[in-house]
Each structure stands twice: as structure tokens, then as C-alpha cells.
Amino acid sequence: MCRIGSIKSRTPMHPSVALRLMLPQQEGHDNSGFAMVMQDLAGAFGHYKHKPLLSLACTRKGLKLANAFMEERGFVQLAEWMPELKRRPGLRMATMPCYVYRNYDYPELYKEKPLQEREDLLLDTRLELRRLLEEGNNGYVYSFWPDVLTLKEIGDPLDIAECFRLWDDDGQLMARNIVTQCRQNTNYAIVRYAAHPFFIQGYTLCANGENTFYTKNTECQRSLHRGYIGFESDSQNFLYTLHYVLHELKWPIKYYKHVITPLPFIEADQRADRRELYLIRESLAHLEINGPNTVIGLLPEGQMFTCCDSKKLRPVVVGGDGNTVCITSEVCGLNEILPNRDPAADIYPNEREMVVIDNDMAVQRWKQ
């Protein structure tokens, strides 16, 4: 089972905070990888917040392919950060030859286009680049979106941190939102794409537990949206449902909870909004989840949220100190990074609850 975590702060944080959050929880994960998505960046990428940032791990050939592809599509490179890897012998991790983080400017044609078209361009570009790199096993493209950086690698998180120099806070790699986990999450094949968090069009999500409705979720999602691909992990379903409910259907966030864990009929019947709840359950029955899961999500505008399965088979805790709020699987992680918070104010969301943290650090919680 994974341990998952996310941190939201008024002041930009370095990934070492995420590592400190996760390492005390290592009894609960298998140290098979480290992954994080950073959003609302500062440091090296702080000047290019509105320019799409490509997060890529690839071979040298893959880099050439990517360069040619992006150029051909009319994207103009603005900035680049390539981590200076410390590849000492004995590191328990699998590295790729190149890790590339680049800001691009939009193609000339798209600079004045509506937001929707630019969002679609970024998605389609990522999907095409992914296909291009997959053909010769030349690399992985994790995200291509403004103000979002993704790092994923297979191996021991401590070694990955050492290799990427994630303990050295030089002020370059900073963000106000970080979503992370320390397991190359999958019960199946070891594939980089299977590692949480997952990302699509501004939506980031990580989850733990087995998705017992993986097959029916996947069969449904394949035809819902061209961006719903991969399915290397059974937790990608949670992200795609989040994206579909919020981005495609444009429903308020609370309906995400209603879609994935509908109220039992006996409870829905007592509700004033039962007609709507029934309609949602009927139409999106194949997006329901019914296993043991906790979800942590990060929305395009920066709100962070969590909710869990309908029986609270996977718990989570939320705590904060006014400047920083953190959601994570085990309270020991919270104690590590926020030792001075008031633990009595920690929230242990129940099976029908959703907790949303706004950009002003206000924590909202409501029952489904």
C-alpha cells in the first residue's frame, strides 16, 4: 500500500520538505520510487509562470526527437533547468540519461487563442510527444503545462534524492504546492508512467489502495476523452474522473465525491437533492469506485483536496499551522514537517467527507 502526501504553503517550499514528509512513513511503502508534482513554482521557473513547462525524462535520442518535434510544432524554448545528477556507484535507482525541464512560449498562432484552445494544444502536444518517445522506448513525458513540474523515478527515494540533489536547497526548485509519494505505485509491471502523482490539464492526483473497479472505470474512460490513456496504474482512473467531472462537465467539486462514492440508495432517498444524485449515479455508474482508496488532488487554480472511499478503508490526516497545510497518510509525516502545529486541530476526514484547502490556507470540510 502506498503512503501519499501533499503540502500547500503560503511560502514556496523545496522538495526536501516533501521527502521529510514521506520518509517517516516508509514502513507503509516499499521504497520503490519517488515522484512529485510541483505547482505554483518559484525559483528557477518563477519568471515563466504562464509559459508551459515540459517535464521529460528521456534518452539522448529521445531528446533530439523531442527538440525536433517541439520546434516543428512552433514552440519556442524560453528557459531550461537540467538537474545536475550525482551518479555515484551503488545508488539503488534506475536513471534515464536526460532529465529536461523547459519552459516554452506558445506557437505564434496560439498566442491570442482562447484558453480552451491553448489547453487542448498543450494536451495534444504532450500526447503526441509521448507516442513519439514510446515508439523507440526513448523516454517519458510527464506533464506539459504552465507552472507545473513533475519528477518521477524508480528506486530508493533516499538515493533518488541524493542523485537529484533534492536535499540541497539552492532556491532553484521551489513551489507552493507539492503532491508526492514514495512508491513506484503499481502491483503490476514497473513502469514510470504508473507512478503517482498523475497529471492532466492542470489536474494532479495521487491515490492509494487497489481500485477494484479498474476494469469498468477504464472501459468507460477510454471513450470519454482522448487524453484518458495509459492506465498503467489503476489509480489513474481517479484522475480522469476528476478531470471529467470538473473540466469536461464543469460540475462543482463536491460532485466528484458523489460520482466516485455515491450515497447508498437508502441515504440518497432522504435527501432534498435526490433527483440530481440519482441522475448522477445513473449516468456515471461506471466511474464509481468501490475499493479501499484515498485520493489527494490538486486543482488548476491551486486548491488541494482529499476524500476517501465509502468505508474509509484508507485513512488520511490533514494538519496545518496557518502558513502550511499538509495532507498525508500518517500523522508521523505531519509531525516531522509541522512539529509546532496544534495536533488537536488535525482533521481525520471520514468516509463521506471532502476537505478542500484554498489558496488562503482556509480549510473547508463538508459531508457528502
Partner: protein, 543 residues
């Protein structure tokens, strides 16, 4: 040497032979009175017996005439193996025995095709028994507790819309329904199949209705029964309990005159309407009610004289799926103010996917369910050639339809209900669960319902005499003397008890796969122990 008339029909030509122990028989006559088929008679036989008439043993052999029970060896009176003689005999002196050497199929066609009721006795393969629920929650995720957790065992009946087409508008943080949507009822995932008053005795039909109402009102299980094509008693049409009944309309429209006349006085909407296009037991045939069963009350409900009632093979005036949608679906939806789901039932066929595709693409979005009935379904009367040699197994066809919908992103839009052989071995919950995992929203059960009332028919040629009007259990007859054999209350109670066990068994299947709501389409929960079955259904093979 005496000439043997080899072409005479003898007992050994019949499918069942009576095993008779004259030494145990007291000639009480109960067996003869109980046999509705006249298969046995009291007779005299010359017997060679040893007697001793003195006060001391003095055995002597005598030839004497003794009364006996004898099996009649005529085709119309052939024993059907129902076993009523055995059931009633106080001494265990008589019982039917299957005769593997019978020549019945050759001899019984002398007056035309063989007609009978029941089910196929030929295509009885059990695909569902080659499938097991093999994906058990073991450490990757927890199993649930079938006694402690809440389970949502409900299925949709009605046309479901795609989420993107729902008339929901955002008001603040809420979604509000802005327009009407097609009616959808969430009901129990097992429907008591469409057996009409006529095919069934009124008492048998009553027992099912009684059980249905009890399950709804006292057990919290929203089970629906389908009326079958034959109307309903006026009192029930005008009662609140109509909401538990799905009214069937088939090509003969039997009973609909009364239904339409009762509409202004209906206190509740019916649970649904089911348009029967075909049935799995005799695809391509219409309903058939032999004159022998058209009793006065049947004539009254259906508004017909005493005659064999043959529904046409097609709905007259419907020439295509599009027309069916526009004419029947729309008019029946309109009849009940678009408040009642209208579904369609077809015999499983090589063409089922085409039908389902057409319904899915129908622009009116008006079909509220696709019922597929496989070759193992039952019937009150049919030609044996239809029963045994036409039709299509339902398991793979259900799967084909589900996957066709998946390929178009339309799964769940028209709920799939499958029947025909569900519960053949008595394990309806296991069958239903597997069908759900393969993509069904629910199942329809028929034969097992009447078996619970007391029907003794089976897939191995036992009884299957539903068409004769001589049903020995009082279930498929209108003969007032035979009706008395059926205890309505006991029948209903047995059906209720079975459904309660069904519900518990559903939980016992849901719990180990870690699910609290129905795993519709969760094919990963199944493994097949037969490679061909696994390949065809797209599930894992395990050995």
C-alpha cells in the same frame, strides 16, 4: 412361433416406464387418481403365485387373476415422469423410471410436430459453471463483511442519459435538474419473468404476485414481476401494488383491452412496460396458449372465445427497429405520461448486437431496457423443434452486447437484463452475479420461480407438459381440480425464502471481491476454467 406385432407401441417405447411393486401395492387407487395424464390404470393380470391355504404349510402354485396398476402404452397417455404417483403412494409401490431406450420422438409425430412446454432438453450446457469468481480480495484490498457492511443491491430499469447530456445546471455550488429526464427505477437485480395468467394458473400467478408484494413491503427488496402477455386481474390493476408489476405487451396484445380501460382508475403507475418481441425458448414464434387452457376466466381477462390463442410471430405493423421505437415505445411511454420505463425483450440471436446498437443510437432515447432471453428460457407451449433446435445461448450474447456498448462509450445507457437458464441448477444468485460481472444490469428468472412453487419439470425431459392443461402441480393448468393442488401461501413463502437466501448469497459474493455495490461489467472478477469460454468472453483463463 407367435407373431409379434413389432409396430405396436409398447411401454418400452415411451420415455418413462413405471416401476411397480405389486407386492407392496394395496390397490388404494391413489396413484391412478393422481396421474393427470392417464398414464396408469387399474387392471387385472393373470399371475402365477404360490399360495398355502391350510393351517400348516402346503405351498402350491396357482394361476390367479389379480388387480394391478398397469402403465398404458399409448402415446397420448405416455408417462411424463412427473412422479405424482410416487409422491402419493403410501407404500412406495410405484415410481416412474427414465427409459433410455424409448422411441418417443419417432412415434409421437404421427399427428404432427411434437408440442410441449418447459425448456430445451438438448442445449443444456452450463457456461456459467465454467466460470468462477476468481478475483478475491487478499491483502491488495480488504474483503468486506457480508453481515456487517451495507450493500447496494439495486439495478437501473429505464433509459439512462450520458452525463454530458444531463439537463443539470449549476446554481451556486449545486447542480439542479432543469428539465425532465426519462424515468429510471432502481429495482432488485432479479425480475420474476413474464409468465402470463393463462400459461400459469391464476393461483400460481397470484402466488408470485403475493411473494413480490411481500418482498417489497416487508423485506425491503424492490423485486418486480412481469405480467406476461395475458393481462391482469382488474383488482390488481386498480391497486397500489400495480407498481410492483411490469406489464407486458406482446404481438397478441392479450389483456390490453382491460388494462387500457383500467387506466383512469389506476392508483399507481405500473413498474414498467415490457414489449415482448421474442422469447428465448422459441425464437421466431409468438405466444401460444392451447385451447385446453383457455378457461372461462382466461377468456374473460383476455376477451377471447375458447380457442387456441396463437400470438403472431411479429408485432403487426412493425417492420423495423426504428418503427418499433417510434410506434410502440413512444405510444407506450405516452400512455403512462412518460413516467414509466418501457423496455423491450428479444430472444437472444446472432443479431442481438445489431438490435442493441440500433436502440442505443435511437435519437428519442426512449428504450428503457434490453432484455435478452437465451435458448435455455422456458415456455408454456411450443413446438419441440423450436425448443431444442432454435435459439442462442445467452451468456456470450449478453457479453457481446455489453462490449458493443463499451466500444461506443454507451455502456449502461440501456440497461441489459439477461435470462434463459439463470438458476437452472438452483443457484440463481451465483448465476446472476456472474452475469452482472459480464455486463448485465440484472437477470430475469422464470422456471426457477415456478419450480419453487412446486413445478417438477427439468432439462432432462421430466414433465414439460405445461402445454397440456394437465399440469400435475396445479401451476400450468386451469383445471379447477388440479388448481387445488397448489397451496398459494406456501408457494409464495417458498419464493420469498428463496429470494432472501438469494440476497444473502449476493452479499456473500460481493464481500470477497470487496464491493458493496453491484460489479456490473467487472469482468476482471471472473476466471474461466474453460479456455474457449475465457477467450470468447474476454476473461482470464485459469486451471
Amino acid at each position: 412361433m407367435e407373431a409379434v406385432k413389432t409396430q405396436d407401441v409398447s411401454v418400452n417405447d415411451l420415455p418413462w416406464k413405471i416401476a411397480y411393486r405389486h407386492d407392496l401395492c394395496t390397490m388404494c387407487g391413489s396413484c391412478v387418481a393422481a396421474c393427470t395424464f392417464g398414464a396408469i390404470e387399474a387392471s387385472m393380470a393373470r399371475r402365477s403365485i404360490v399360495v398355502s391355504r391350510r393351517s400348516f404349510p402346503e405351498p402350491e402354485q396357482k394361476h390367479v387373476a389379480r388387480p394391478v396398476i398397469r402403465q398404458r402404452s399409448t402415446i397420448p397417455n405416455a408417462c411424463v415422469g412427473c412422479g405424482m404417483c410416487e409422491k402419493i403412494c403410501p407404500n412406495g409401490a410405484i415410481a416412474p423410471v427414465r427409459n433410455p431406450d424409448g422411441r418417443f420422438p419417432l412415434l409421437a409425430r404421427s399427428s404432427g410436430p411434437i408440442k410441449r412446454g418447459g425448456r430445451t432438453n438438448l442445449n443444456t450446457q452450463r457456461t456459467l459453471d465454467a466460470i468462477v469468481v476468481g478475483r478475491i480480495s487478499q491483502m491488495t484490498d480488504p474483503s468486506l463483511d457480508s453481515e456487517r457492511h451495507t450493500f447496494d443491491i439495486r439495478s437501473p430499469f429505464g433509459r439512462i442519459m450520458l452525463a454530458k447530456d444531463l439537463p443539470l445546471k449549476v446554481e451556486g455550488d449545486n447542480l439542479v435538474q432543469a428539465e425532465r429526464t426519462p424515468p429510471v427505477h432502481w429495482i432488485y437485480p432479479a425480475i420474476f419473468s413474464d409468465m402470463s395468467i393463462g400459461a400459469l394458473s391464476l393461483r400460481a400467478w397470484e402466488a408470485i404476485a403475493l411473494a413480490t408484494a411481500y418482498l417489497n413491503e416487508h423485506c425491503g427488496m424492490p423485486v418486480r414481476m412481469c405480467s406476461g402477455e395475458g393481462g391482469m386481474p382488474i383488482k390488481l390493476l386498480e391497486s397500489e401494488q400495480l407498481k410492483y408489476v411490469i406489464l407486458q405487451i406482446a404481438s397478441g396484445h392479450f389483456g390490453w383491452n382491460r388494462i387500457i380501460k383500467a387506466m383512469p382508475r389506476m392508483k399507481a403507475d405500473p413498474g414498467g412496460v415490457l414489449i415482448k418481441i421474442g422469447q428465448g425458448a422459441k425464437p421466431g414464434d409468438g405466444g401460444l396458449l392451447p385451447a385446453a387452457k383457455v378457461a372461462p376466466h382466461i377468456q374473460s381477462i383476455r376477451g377471447v372465445p375458447k380457442a387456441t390463442l396463437a400470438s403472431p410471430p411479429n408485432h403487426q405493423g412493425l417492420y423495423s427497429i426504428e418503427e418499433s421505437v417510434q410506434k410502440m415505445h413512444l405510444s407506450l411511454n405516452a400512455a403512462f405520461g412518460f413516467r414509466v420505463p418501457v423496455a423491450i425483450k428479444c430472444a437472444a440471436s446472432a443479431t442481438s448486437v445489431s438490435v442493441y446498437n440500433n436502440l442505443l443510437r435511437d435519437p428519442y432515447r426512449i428504450c428503457g431496457g434490453f432484455f435478452i432471453d437465451g435458448i435455455q428460457g422456458g415456455t408454456g407451449a411450443a413446438n419441440e423443434v423450436s425448443l431444442d433446435h432454435t435459439g442462442h445461448p445467452v451468456v456470450s450474447k449478453l457479453r457481446d452486447c455489453y462490449l458493443a456498448a463499451v466500444a461506443q462509450g454507451l455502456q449502461g445507457q440501456i440497461p441489459l437484463w439477461a435470462g434463459g437458464g439463470i438458476g437452472m441448477t438452483g443457484n440463481a444468485a451465483a448465476d446472476a452475479f456472474k452475469m452482472l460481472c459480464l455486463g448485465a444490469n440484472g437477470v430475469i428468472i422464470g422456471k426457477i420461480v415456478i419450480q419453487l412453487l412446486g413445478c417438477i419439470g427439468n432439462e432432462r425431459g421430466r414433465c414439460n407438459a405445461c402445454s397440456t392443461g394437465k399440469c400435475p402441480t396445479g401451476i400450468c393448468t386451469q383445471d379447477p381440480r388440479l388448481l387445488k393442488r397448489l397451496d398459494v401461501d406456501r408457494g409464495a413463502q417458498r419464493l420469498v425464502d428463496y429470494m432472501l437466501a438469494f440476497d444473502s448469497e449476493m452479499r456473500k459474493l460481493l464481500a470477497p471481491v470487496g464491493n458493496s455495490s453491484l460489479p456490473v461489467g467487472r469482468s476482471d472478477a471472473l476466471v474461466a476454467t474453460d479456455k474457449a469460454v475465457a477467450d470468447k468472453l474476454g476473461i482470464q483463463y485459469a486451471c
